[in-house]
Every structure is written in C-alpha cells, then in structure tokens.
Amino acid sequence: MQQLQMYQKYLLPLAVLLLLKFVLVPLWDAKEENYQQLSSSRYNLEKTRALAGLGEQMQQRKAEMAALVAQAEAAVVSGTALTQVKLDAQSAIDNLLRDQQLNLTNSNWVDGLGEADITTVFYEFSFSGELPNYLKFLQEFSADQAFAGMSLESSRARLSHRSETEPAQIDATLSVRLPVRLETMP
C-alpha cells in the first residue's frame, strides 16, 4: 500500500500518456485520414460530375451517329443471300438495256474483296446499239433509285458512224460496282 502511495504521483502522467497513445493519437490519425480520403473523394466526385455533365451532349452525338449509320446502311444494298442480290441487280440492268433497245452480248460477275458484313461484287456486261439509246440508258441509270446502290466502275466503247444522217453505233463494255451488306438470318 505504501508503495502504491509512493507511485501515486506518477499515475496521472501515465494515464495521460496512455490516453494519448491509445486514444487521442489514433483518433487524430483516423480523423486526418478521413479528411484526406474526403479530399480525394471530393476531387474524384468533381471530375466524375463534370464527366456526367456531358451526358446530354453524348446522347445527341449518339443519335446523330445512329442516324448517319442508318443512312449509310440504307445506301448500301442489303440481302440475306448474295446470289439473290446479284440476280436482282442483273435483272434490273438487263431490263434497262432491253428498254433502251440495247442488245446485251455478254455478261459476268466478278467477286471482289469482303470486309466485315460487306462484300463488293462487279457486274461486267457488253452490249451494242445506237448512241442516243446508250445516253438514255446512262440517264436512267443515274436517275432511277433501283440503281442507287450501284456505281459505274469503268467503261470501254467503240463508236462507228455509218452516215451523217444515221445515229452512231456503239459497242460498249461496262463494269458496275455493287457493294452488298449481307444480313444474317434472324
């Protein structure tokens, strides 16, 4: 008991030190850490909110791009089977030649390279007839929406003039480019 009384004066500093070591200092550290994390969290929040603020702009951009893609897809001929697309295109061109009184003499298909879901094919055909009819053919080919997915890749022609009163005759070979977007079966 006497010893306890002797050391009594040391109890207060000891208690203070223990409190500092195990309560106050850890509390202070935890508080500082919290504020540090808070600062970092607020910085991130600010950045994230700034990013989220671009939402409307992004939606607008997405809608614009979707419209452009839809427009581009519509401009390219599509089908589930390449052969069927070829047949349809060939039929349309043959009919146009017939309508313009141009005699088809030869035709064939050349397959081009494919990329993703798009394959490019070329329809090469030869015909003969009068030059004015060929010009009408070109005019129709340009104007008719049935040929919107096609473009003339190359052409080669020989013209002959029998007399000044008769129209010139033309023997031509044309190559038409046709990109095809193949759709997968649902």
Binding site: L51, A116, I118, T120, S154, R158
Partner: protein, 367 residues
C-alpha cells in the same frame, strides 16, 4: 486581444483567462477587458501573474554554450531556495548564455498556482527585440521595461532612475524608436499566441507541486482538458466519417452515371467506326452524262469520236478531226476538264487528223 476572432476562440481564450490571477496591490482576475478584484474564494488558478513590485530581477551570464550544462548550474543555484525562483534562458551571445532570475519578494505560500509569471516577461513576450516601454502599475508606480537581445529587463522608477531614457541607456538601447506607454489593465491579459511563447519550464512553482493534496486541482484541469480534447477528437472523427461516407455515396452514384456515359461513348465510337466502314462502300452518284456534255462541243466542230475508255477519273478518247489541236483546245476550254493532253502522235489521213487524247474530269464522273 481581438474581439473579431472566432467565437469559439473567444470562448477558449476566456476559459484560459479564468485560470489566471494577477497579484499586484490586491489579487485580481484577468479578462480581455481588464482586471477586476478577486474577492472570496478564488478557486484553483494554475497561473499567477506577479506584479513588478513583488519580485527582483537578476541577469547572470554563464560562459557556457551547452544549455544542459547551464540548466545544471541553475538547478544547483536554486535547489536550496526556500521560495520559488523563476528562470528564463536567453540565446547564446558571444559564447555566453544569459539567464534571468526572478526572485519573488512576497510570501506566495498561500497561492496554489502551478506557474508564476513575472508581469514584465509577459508584457515583453510579444514585442520586438530592442523595444522599450513603460507603464503605470496598479499600485501607482512607474515601471520601465525593455526587451534586450539577451533577456527581458525592467526597473521601477526611483532613485537615480528618473526617466525612461536613462533606463534605455543603461541597457544600451535607443529609446526614440520603440518607446511605448502601455495601459497595464488591458495589456495584462495574455493572448494565446503569447502564452505559447513563454518558457514554462522555468516558471514552475515547485513549492505548489510538492504540497500534499495540491495535485488534485491540477488533476481536475488536466482531466477536463483531456475530456474536452477527447470529445473534440471523437466528434471531429465522427463528423469526418459522416462526410466521407456521404461523399463516397455521392461518388458511387456519380460513378454509375459516368460508367453509363462511358458505355454510351463506346457505342458512339462503334457507330463512328461502322460509319467509316460503310462510307467507303456508299456508291458515288455522279452525273453519268457529264462526260458526254464535255464531248458534245467536239461533235459540233465535226469531230468524230471513235473509241473511249474510262477507268476511275481517267478518260481516253480516240478521235478523227479536221484539226487535232483545235479539238484539244475545245476540251481544254471546258472547266470540267483537267490535264487534257495528246496520248499518241497525230496521224494525218486525207483531210482528217487521227489522235488519242487523255484527260480527267474534275468530279468523279463516269461514263
């Protein structure tokens, strides 16, 4: 003391001032506004400010640089004292350490204050080195004081010391620059900044600490301070944790929105790539008749077209014309024609020239 400071600081300061008493002709309580006489039970006040008339100053120079050795000498000198001796150490000057001793000349045994602070030390603490000031004590005496590079010095007016100039000269100071007349009643209340600067170890009242049972008031003060500090830390910790949790929740929500946005950005990127892919395949719808519009003027000038070849932008024609150069001129004059030139030598057959011409069209015209 500024009254414009934060209310919490004002409260803290007043709480501190309530722990201080000032002993002059009477015992006074200290507040920011001034001093008021303390009557009745004073309670435990750990800091006692001692008026100048109650102590004697002594400045001793020790030819020692190491402060620990100086402290040992001071301890030897003061250990046999029967009343508190207050000490303040100055900076080493010319390899000598100045030590100020303050000997109270009044019986302080009735006071339980743990620290005794000479008033001149308090008043000089916040002043620049070299400043000289004077004030009227509450007992009516004039006190001269100065802060020299070595220590705070002071003296009561009287004897040969009549004027502050004499006091300043005695300590090698110039009175003209820094002289100031203080109002003691308001200057005696120490600010927090001043309290921090004071050399507390030398101002301990060892006699108060060794008295039986005198530790209890100190324990109360220390316990109170610890409780306040603990409560403050717990509350600030809880508050910071609450703020952090809120902020993290907000961040989580914002991150979710941002992730959605990033997904949409990826979609836009995919759409863009898709468009770029498709754009290559979109057929170029040209005026297929433009080539023939270009060739029409040749017909008007009796030029006969025999063959033409077209691949991409390049066109080659073979013609029969009365003048091949005139035919080329006609082509060159047309704005849609670019880079027209003869592709073969000009052959003359009768009245006609036969030649091959190559040119390009400005637009991607095919024909």
């Amino acid at each position: 003391m500024s009254s414009k400071q934060h209310p919490f600081l004002n409260f803290l300061q007043q709480s501190l001032l309530n722990r201080i008493c000032y002993l002059s002709d009477k015992l006074y309580a200290v507040s920011a506004a001034g001093v008021t006489e303390l009557l009745g039970k004073t309670g435990y006040r750990p800091l006692l400010i001692l008026a100048r008339q109650h102590y004697r100053e002594e400045l001793v120079w020790y030819p020692i640089v190491k402060i620990a050795d100086v402290k040992k000498l001071v301890q030897l000198k003061t250990m046999s004292a029967t009343s508190p001796v207050l000490v303040s150490y100055g900076p080493v000057i010319n390899n000598q350490t100045p030590v100020s001793y303050f000997y109270p000349q009044i019986d302080l045994s009735q006071f339980k204050a743990s620290f005794i602070l000479p008033e001149t030390m308090l008043l000089a603490a916040d002043r620049p080195v070299g400043s000289v000031f004077s004030y009227q004590s509450l007992a009516g005496q004039t006190v001269f004081s100065a802060r020299t590079p070595a220590a705070t010095v002071s003296s009561l007016q009287g004897g040969v010391l009549k004027h502050i100039e004499q006091f300043a000269m005695a300590h090698g100071l110039n009175v003209d620059d820094q002289q100031q007349e203080l109002n003691l009643a308001t200057a005696i209340a120490p600010s927090l900044a001043v309290l921090v600067k004071l050399p507390w170890l030398g101002l301990r009242n060892k006699f108060a600490a060794t008295k039986q049972g005198d530790q209890r008031p100190l324990i109360r003060v220390v316990s109170g301070a610890l409780v306040v500090a603990t409560l403050y830390l717990v509350s600030t910790y809880q508050w910071s944790a609450y703020l952090l949790e809120n902020s993290q929740q907000e961040l989580q929500q914002a991150s979710s929105q941002a992730n959605q946005l990033l997904t949409e950005r990826e979609t836009v990127q995919e759409l863009k790539q898709r468009y770029q892919q498709l754009a290559v395949y979109i057929p170029k719808r040209n005026d297929e008749l433009l080539l023939w519009q270009v060739l029409a003027p040749l017909y008007e000038n009796k030029v006969v077209l025999s063959t033409f070849e077209q691949k991409g932008q390049d066109i080659r024609i073979e013609i029969q014309a009365p003048s091949a150069t005139d035919a080329l001129q006609i082509l060159l004059k047309q704005p849609e024609v670019v880079n027209a030139r003869f592709d073969s030598s000009v052959r003359r057959r009768g009245e006609q020239d036969e030649v091959s011409i190559r040119f390009s069209l400005k637009t991607g015209v095919e024909g």
